[in-house]
């Protein structure tokens, strides 16, 4: 059975241990940042930043909420990036875990097209066009360890395990959270292996918290059209 993350944002304190643990395990260099009038940093995901805790101040029902969203690749069950690439030596799915893995051969792909295909705007390219994103800490998972972000999380926000177990946990937590927050929901749970629980409208957390369903449904067509036309994928997204 494939593996899944369950990210319970209702427990997240934005300590950003996950963000640092990710950099540490993958030995990714720090970016030169500036304080931009917010704690959120670096300003975006990048070739060297796979995980980023988004932080937003929102007034909801007259009360200030500080919404935290530890953003990362969703490891889609049917990944548009993988289908768009159509090159398993560059992007493939690990059969045992369901992890969507980018290799150094992504350098040979049309990077912008892959990025555009992602319903969550996750992959980022380096100067030479190689793509990178969260790899589910596949090396850790294959050796019986939790992904670094999950291992470091003190509050139980980040969870990882067999998909069914994570879905059960997600549904049970949703039931509890919904009592106080009727808009609580699991984001795109059927389509992704990183299942987020949010207490409020997902779009108040982050613009790309949720995918447009149309994008997900289009992906197969996108892949097919791509075989005939190099620009079809972009056209399909616009529709």
């Amino acid at each position: 059975m494939s593996k899944s993350f369950f990210v319970d944002t209702t427990l997240c304190t934005a300590c950003r241990g996950c963000q640092v643990a990710c950099k540490q395990w993958h030995d990714l260099p720090a970016e030169q940042t500036k304080n931009r009038g917010t704690y959120e940093n670096p300003p975006d995901l990048s070739f060297n930043t796979y995980k980023l805790v988004r932080m937003r101040e929102e007034v909801i029902d007259g009360k200030l909420r500080w919404l935290f969203f530890p953003e990362q690749c969703r490891h889609c069950t049917e990944a548009p990036c993988l289908e768009t690439a159509g090159d398993p030596s560059a992007i493939f799915k690990d059969a045992a875990t369901g992890a969507v893995i980018f290799t150094a051969k992504t350098k040979g792909l049309n990077a912008d097209e892959i990025i555009d295909s992602c319903p969550y705007n996750i992959p980022r390219k380096s100067a030479d066009g190689t793509l990178a994103k969260c790899d589910m800490c596949l090396d850790r998972v294959q050796n019986g360890l939790l992904p670094a972000c999950v291992k470091t999380c003190p509050t139980g926000t980040m969870n990882f395990g067999d998909r069914k177990e994570m879905l059960d946990l997600a549904k049970s937590r949703l039931g509890v959270v919904k009592k106080a927050n009727p808009k609580a929901q699991l984001i795109d749970a059927d389509d992704v292996n990183v299942i987020y629980l949010v207490a409020y409208d997902p779009r108040s957390y982050h613009d790309n918290a949720t995918a447009s369903n149309s994008v997900i449904r289009m992906t197969r067509q996108m892949a097919l059209r791509k075989m005939f036309s190099p620009v079809a994928g972009v056209a399909a997204r616009v529709i």
Partner: protein, 816 residues
């Protein structure tokens, strides 16, 4: 912490106030979250909406420095609505004690104030006593001179409307919090407080905590699982360093530093050993001489004997009535009276209040030894901003210390757990462990004194045998801390051999036959081994997360202190589910006939106060064994600034008049008088309240985190947070650099304009507050543009602890 980290999960209501646990103690939130998932309510009161507030069930803002007003209102709420745990309060606290007629409170002052010396004559605050000297009590709590009635009178002024005008907290939030928290006064419910420097760093710091302690006592929350008064320490080993006498006013194990007037060991012991004539009071500090003499034996070994007062005269004495705290030391250094300075594992150029004065003071030194992991703003003060190196004579020596993981030894965490840690990697380069540096230093001093010198005895006679094969041996020190039998002795019917480790402090002696470098830790390293290195995962039978076989906890592995108050007078728990201790001795005809407690290590293993039939037992002891009279102190006559807490404004405040009483500030707060000490109250040049704090991404002055690129990526620059309203008023844009200034200095920072700060309505006026982290310093990042928020903070503090008031002061914020 009276309780410990895991125990937070047992709470029914967690008040997080004076701390920002989610950001500064992130792992604590594991247990906060568990409690919340079990249905506990989390309340957060803070001037600013923080990452803790984001997870709280109830958040309310409060102006910095007004916690006593807020909590005092809760005391009034509890008393007015009679929500206190009456049986607990009457039996275990001094609520029933009758106070002398000489005590009064008038015009913001307690009886006995000496305005010339800014000190109280505490003898005016004594208790009425019977002919034997036992305090008179009225267990019905009705006598008008009993503590409970005086408490009621004292806090009758703290109604929610006035509280709201002082704190700026909306009245409806105040009432909701009072209602939610005081529900834990019900039998079987527990509320806890998580506080930190947001409470201690005030001119009323001690009284902030006293106010909460009173609430916890009224609600019966002391000694129970999920309760207590819990200080979240600012560093992993602050508890340990305090226990082992980091502070000037105490010796290890909270023994007193001797005063000049304590002329002999006999006079010293007499002065500091409390006496009680109540047969029901354990008065544990009555054992004081056993601990002080054992400490001296540990210092001086065979050189200490009864004939030479166990070497007492070789130890330094402090002048009576004089303070030697951080603020005082730097004041003296600034005045040029201190010539040499060891800055050991600290960075006062950034960490001290009024840091600019500290930096100037260092110019007056002949020499400084900076012992640290890396060079810092202290070691390099002479080339810092505004310094002219050619005019500075101070010679600085840098001794590189290794990191904690590169050495073996113990730390004691906030929950009083002494945890043994092993060496990971070896120290890098020529860095050494602190232990090795100290041992070598001691050896050199001994060698120098062999050649002569004034008063060589303290160094020459010092027992200094903690090395193995030329290296510092942490096991030898840990054993010394525990203590040894120094001759063959029989204590309490048990025979002990010379040279063996003392099993617990109950066996320490005042005749020189035992040693212990810290009586509180006697039981930590015994003939059974190193207790702190234990790693059992097994819980105690009450299954409340005590894990008694994991590490070791002072005192005598008691995980929740004051736990005798978690049971009723018959020894049965108030809370049947999360019970801490329980008396299970045999019962015959309504009387207990054998002694047995289960659960945690009880606070003294005596019989309960009463038999099952309700008859009193004369072989029992009152629950609070560390207090002279055996009762927790709602009325605390030992404090410098009053037996009850009272709201005073911070030394620097935005309002001309204290709305609670005619004294604007704590009348006993210390102030300093050099040209580097300036204060500004209600000064239009500094119109905004400011506070300092930490962020999760940095640690202390940032010495270990600022050179760390992953953490600098997250929080690259010093910032000042302010409301949208204040930013608009000063035309400040989010993310732009601004200047923050106080009467003492100024600091360039990045503005964070946020909804998380809101203006306060104080006494009908709008008051703005801003906040800054103090983790930065000019030495790193390389730009040199980020400096310490302590350049702004004031040189005053709490009259009891002299902890600086860095949490409430006045500033201006301006565009650059």
């Amino acid at each position: 912490m009276t309780n410990h980290w895991i125990d937070i999960r047992n709470s029914d209501c967690i008040l997080i106030m004076g701390s920002n646990a989610a950001e500064n103690h992130p792992v604590s939130f594991k247990y906060v979250t568990q409690a919340q998932l079990n249905g506990a309510k989390v309340i957060n009161v803070d001037p600013r909406f923080t990452r803790t507030s984001a997870r709280a069930d109830i958040y309310a803002p409060l102006r910095s420095g007004t916690d006593i007003a807020f909590l005092g209102g809760m005391i009034k709420y509890i008393l007015d609505k009679k929500l206190y745990h009456e049986e607990y309060v009457a039996a275990y606290t001094n609520a029933s004690f009758l106070v002398n007629k000489s005590f009064e409170f008038k015009d913001g002052l307690f009886a006995g104030y000496d305005s010339e010396n800014k000190k109280y004559d505490k003898s005016k605050w004594g208790f009425q006593a019977d002919e034997k000297g036992v305090p008179k009590m009225d267990r019905t709590l009705k006598d008008p001179r009993c503590v409970l009635q005086l408490l009621k009178k004292h806090f009758s002024r703290y109604d929610t409307n006035l509280v709201s005008q002082i704190t700026g907290t909306p009245e409806k939030d105040i009432t909701e919090i009072y209602k939610t928290y005081t529900a834990t006064g019900e039998r079987g419910k527990a509320g806890t407080i998580m506080y930190a420097m947001g409470w201690t760093q005030h001119t009323v710091g001690t009284q902030n905590i006293r106010t909460m302690a009173i609430i916890q006592l009224l609600l019966g929350n002391m000694g129970v699982a999920g309760g207590g008064v819990n200080a979240l320490r600012g560093e992993s080993n602050v508890q340990g360093s305090t226990d082992h006498c980091l502070l000037w006013h105490i010796w290890p194990g909270y023994l007193k530093t001797p005063r000049a007037s304590n002329v002999s060991i006999e006079a010293y012991n007499k002065k500091w050993t409390p006496a009680s004539s109540d047969p029901l009071s354990a008065n544990w500090w009555g054992n004081y001489p056993k601990y002080s003499v054992s400490l001296l034996k540990s210092f001086f070994g065979g050189k200490a004997s009864k004939d030479n007062d166990f070497g007492y005269e070789w130890l330094p004495k402090v002048d009576d009535g004089k303070a030697y705290s951080w603020l005082d030391l730097f004041d003296e250094m600034y005045k040029g009276t201190i010539k040499g300075f060891f800055a050991w594992g600290q960075n006062p150029a950034c960490s001290g209040s009024n840091a600019g004065k500290n930096r100037e003071a260092m110019k007056k030194l002949d020499w400084m030894v900076n012992v640290n992991l890396f060079d810092n703003e202290t070691g390099s003060f002479w080339k810092g901003p505004g310094m002219n190196p050619s005019e500075i004579k101070t010679e600085v020596f840098m001794l590189p210390a290794c990191v904690s993981v590169e050495k073996e030894g113990s730390i004691t965490n906030s929950g009083r757990w002494m945890q043994w840690r092993y060496q990971g990697p070896k120290p890098k380069g020529n860095s050494k462990s602190d232990g090795d540096i100290i041992m070598e230093f001691g050896e050199k001093l001994k060698a120098v004194y062999k050649e002569g010198g004034k008063f060589p005895e303290p160094i020459a006679n010092l027992k200094w045998d903690y090395m193995t094969d030329g290296l510092y041996d942490p096991h030898k020190v840990a054993k010394e801390i525990n203590g040894y039998f120094l001759k063959d002795v029989t204590v309490k019917g048990k025979d002990f051999k010379k040279g063996t480790l003392v099993p617990s402090f109950a066996f320490l002696q005042a005749d020189g036959s035992t040693s212990s470098a810290n009586w509180l830790y006697c039981n930590s390293y015994t003939e059974k081994g190193n207790m702190s290195a234990r790693r059992s995962q097994k819980d105690a039978p009450n299954e409340i997360g005590l894990y008694p076989g994991f590490s070791w906890c002072w005192p005598v592995n008691r995980r929740i202190i004051y736990n005798r108050a978690s049971v009723d007078l018959k020894g049965q728990p108030w809370d049947e589910t999360d019970w801490v201790v329980r008396f299970v001795g045999k019962e015959e005809n309504g009387k207990y006939v054998s002694k047995r407690w289960i659960g945690d290590v009880p606070d003294g293993g005596w019989y309960p106060m009463q038999n099952p039939d309700g008859s009193a037992r004369e072989d029992s002891k009152h629950a609070f064994i560390m207090r002279k009279h055996g009762h927790a102190q709602i009325f605390g006559p030992g404090r410098a600034d009053g037996p009850f807490p009272e709201h005073y404004e911070p030394l620097e405040c935005p309002i001309e008049k204290n709305l609670m009483n005619p004294q604007r500030v704590n009348p006993t707060a210390p102030v300093f008088g050099t040209d580097a000490d300036a204060y500004a109250t209600c000064d239009p040049k500094f119109p905004f309240v400011a506070t300092t704090y930490r962020v999760v991404e940095h640690w202390q002055t940032g010495l270990m985190t600022r050179p760390q690129p992953w953490l600098m990526e997250l929080q690259p620059q010093v910032f000042v947070e302010m409301s949208e309203q204040l930013a608009k008023m000063r035309a400040i844009k989010n993310g732009e650099r601004v200047m923050v200034s106080s009467a003492r200095g100024s600091l360039e920072c990045t503005a964070i304009v946020t909804k998380r700060f809101q203006p306060f309505k104080i006494g009908g006026n709008i008051v703005h507050q801003v906040g800054l982290p103090w983790h930065y310093g000019w030495r790193w990042p390389e730009s040199g543009t980020e400096d310490s928020a302590n350049l702004l903070t004031p040189p005053t503090g709490d009259p009891n602890t002299r902890i600086p008031e860095t949490k409430a002061f006045m500033v201006n914020v301006a565009k650059i």
